[in-house]
């Protein structure tokens, strides 16, 4: 893997250069509220690579909350229908992705593009997309990517990967596309000392993780075993289900949740658009069929579906990794107390009989 050392100025120049042919997205801090958004950059100055984890996952850009996938006109009089399915997507660069969000994109890739059918809509977003990740130097209180092997440094799937070192920004190349970009510039090659410093920086970051994360490290794998084999007691699922407000927030902030709903909505007389919008398995109407037959009525039936998706082997087979990337956003937003790390804790408590 080639490595280069860039200055902050080189990075700005790269962003500006990429903006000519791509829509460039990156982390930026809202000046009033200090909230972090991963959004399209107006200019290279707006990019803040040291910003904390964005509150919404980057999937918003590749798999938006709501998106039009088809438009049609129909006329009852002439019995005619006209479909228009062309949509144009500019190529994108995701600049400064957290490794957890990068892993989330890899999960979505494997799910949407790697199964029996390819999802055309997702493919349109993902085609010609450049991924530039950014090593996390400071974990945040809810982070637990060390448990799910998705941070604090990225180890696959990026085109370029950035790490802030003392002398500048280390760039690791992860793909042919990334190498082509590097070859087109006169970047100075990083030394062995820089490579060693990178390792030390990652080690230091791992040491800074809160106890919840380091303590739970081995338990995620153990809990996956239990969930896959069905050895979690119904009482534990009920305890978890009882705390679910059915708000769906966990699904919307999760980098790997990919359920969606499709609805045709009228825009004018005889004109409709087909919208695809994110959905959550915690909603009561999720599996309800016409005629009001609902095979998944009880909340715990629906709640354990989500954890089955995140932490079970059949699902990992689709994702080639656990479905959870350890970003901790669900822990942040859950009005109950059933963010994913807590669910691991509850099942752990069941296994150990509450000992630890």
């Amino acid at each position: 893997m080639s490595m280069y050392l860039l200055s902050a100025h080189d990075i700005s120049a790269l962003v500006t250069e990429l903006q000519a042919s791509y829509d460039v997205y990156g982390p930026q801090v809202e000046p009033q509220t200090k909230q972090v958004f991963f959004d399209q950059l107006a200019s290279a100055e707006a990019l803040d690579l040291a910003a904390p984890i964005p509150s919404m996952p980057v999937k918003e850009i590749l798999f938006p909350q709501m998106e039009r996938i088809l438009k049609y006109k129909y006329d009852a009089q002439s019995q005619s229908v006209e479909l228009s399915k062309q949509y144009f997507e500019r190529p994108k660069v995701l600049f400064g992705l957290r490794p957890c969000d990068l892993s989330g994109i890899l999960v979505l890739d494997r799910f949407f593009l790697g199964q029996e059918f390819v999802d055309d809509v997702y493919l349109t977003h993902r085609r010609q997309c450049l991924l530039i990740s950014n090593t996390c130097l400071h974990p945040f209180p809810q982070c637990f990517c060390v448990c799910t092997h998705s941070g604090p440094d990225a180890d696959e799937g990026f085109d370029l990967d950035l790490t802030q070192l003392k002398d500048g920004i280390l760039v690791r190349v992860g793909s042919e596309k990334g190498q082509a970009l590097a070859d087109a510039h006169q970047w100075s090659v990083a030394s062995a000392a820089h490579a060693a410093e990178f390792k030390a920086v990652v080690e230091r970051s791992i040491d800074l993780f809160p106890e919840l994360a380091t303590d739970n490290k081995a338990w995620v794998a153990k809990v996956m075993n239990r969930i896959t084999t069905g050895f979690v007691k119904p009482e534990t699922w009920e305890y978890i289900g009882d705390q679910c407000f059915e708000c769906g927030a966990c699904s919307f902030v999760c980098p790997t949740c990919s359920c969606f709903n499709i609805e045709d909505s009228a825009t004018a007389c005889g004109e409709c658009e087909r919208l695809r919008m994110r959905d959550s398995c915690s909603f009561e109407g999720y599996a309800r069929m016409a005629g009001d037959h609902n095979p998944r009525q009880p909340v715990e039936d629906r709640r354990n579906k989500r954890f089955f998706c995140k932490l079970s082997y059949p699902q990992s087979k689709k994702y080639l990794r656990p479905g959870c990337v350890g970003c901790g956003r669900c822990q942040w937003v859950c009005p109950g107390d059933i963010g994913l790390p807590n669910v691991v804790q509850y099942i752990r408590r069941e296994i150990t009989g509450g000992q630890n």
Binding site: I69, L70, Y72, Y74, A76, Q79, S80, V81, L83, K85, F111, F112, Q115, E116, F117, V118, D119, D120, V121, G230, S258, C259, F260, N261, I262, E263, D264, A266, G270, C272, R274, D279, C281, Y286, A287, R288, M289, A290, G291, P295, R296, D301, K305, F308, S312, P314
Partner: protein, 292 residues
Amino acid sequence: MANCHGNHEHGNCKTTGLCPIVTFPEVVNIDEIRDEIPEVKTFYLSFPNKDVEREFRIKSGQFIMCTVFGAGEFAVSLPPSPENDRFHISVRAVGKVTNALHALKPGDKLGVRGPFGNGFPFEDIKGKNIIYVAGGIGLIPLRSSIVHALQHREDFGRIILLYGARSSQDLMYQPDIKEWQQNAGFETFITIDKPEAGWNGEVGYVNQLIEKAKVPVDNSVAFVCGPPVMFNSVIGEFLKRGMSEDAIISTLERQMKCGIGKCQHCAVGRTLVCTDGPVYTYRQIKTLGEQI
């Protein structure tokens, strides 16, 4: 369809060499509408695009996603046989989209995506007796396989249809059933729930027909389709007689949005009804750990 939207090595493309219509619906014309039973109509459809029509091949037990323009899309099983049968769907008006469908008239257009799903395992059941058990509109998804089996009559042993409905008004496909009965060795047993003036046939539930028909258990497969209550009692009856759990086959129904294994609305246990189903054996259904 000339371009494969999926992965050629998998699923439909691999078994048939033909890709289903995956993302954008193909427009079809409603040629004819027939009233079947109260609330159920059959729509005969054709593709204006003849290239698409030529490549649109179905397997028994598959389903399509059908768009009613202006109302939405719904999943519906395919009653026509894969060979020499008019393309049609039979639909009960039960929700928003299906009610909008029932308001349409011949010449109106629909959208079609598909066909999706695994279909009935016809390759594995050659030489066996087939017992069809249907309740009410449960005959719709089984129709395709009945016609198909009769077209290849010599490949199978006895073919028995056990069919039950609430009343004689609610019996689907009566002209078809009369036609099937012309075939040598097609045995039909039909029952309605309550006695009725002018009805000379059986009265009672469909599970009681298993006894009456002296259904063979060895070297047999049962295709069961109907409301959950019927399903459970019929399965119980078959198991009591020592039928293997692998030989009882059914199709599941779920809310579906995409049909291609992405929206996850039809997740049952570890499987998705749209790509892993809709046809399951009872052994599989038992391990799903969910209501039918």
